[in-house]
Symmetry: C2
Subunit: 136 residues, 2 copies
């Protein structure tokens, strides 16, 4: 099979998916990706991929997230079905967050992206520096 034709076909498929065949206003792919493209969403999913955590544990695990953003991001992840929230009626109460099957299914594609980022961040930073130098 001609790999060039195959590649172009794949590219068109992906672009078509991202544009919902012209219906930009209501594109499912963009809708889903929007939901996980927040500053903390992917990070928390990756943390919970290891094992379930309680609220305070997550706070200590990710020291630079504010309480507000942790609450809000977990809420959004729960709403979209990625995270399960279980309240244990102890005193004081404890709440455990874990990934659902849907949340776990996100791991593989996210891992690809992270590995790509890890592999290319030097090139990106070099390009950025060269670009800024050329502008000055």
């Amino acid at each position: 099979m001609d790999s060039k034709i195959f590649n172009l076909k794949a590219k068109l498929e992906v672009y078509k998916a991202m544009t919902n065949g012209g219906n930009f206003a209501d594109c499912p792919v963009r809708d889903v990706i929007q939901g996980i493209s927040g500053k903390w969403s992917s990070l928390l999913v990756m943390a919970l991929a290891e094992k379930p955590y309680r609220f305070g544990e997550l706070r200590r695990l990710v020291p630079d997230i504010s309480q507000r953003m942790l609450t809000q991001t977990l809420y959004d992840l729960q709403r979209d079905g990625y995270v399960h929230r279980e309240v244990f009626p102890t005193k004081p109460p404890s709440v455990e967050y874990s990934l659902t099957d849907l949340g776990r299914s996100m791991f593989a594609p996210l891992q690809m992206l992270v590995q790509w980022a890890e592999l290319n961040h030097d090139a990106v930073r070099a390009a950025r520096a060269a670009f800024d130098a050329a502008q000055a």
Copy 2:
């Protein structure tokens, strides 16, 4: 090999990469991912993956992007080394945008994410609807 141990190791690796081993303030992975997580960045990369386009062509191709965001997103993508910008001194001038090798390298991981989103958007929307119904 025990796949469970392997999976946990992979998860820890990815999380470690996303947290820069504790140095959250300057994490390369998050820096790179931030750069492509804009509303239009990935869409334009996927469009240019097919073939180079001129400014006006891109505008018509993605009708719901504003002129400002098209200009700015292309500028950012160029700055990070994903997009090459070539000016043809015709009259009136024409400007062609194309992917660099770095930009092309983004296609595969992005494709994974898009396919995952396509496969799971029904589940996400169902979860969202159920969650909202439960809240009401």
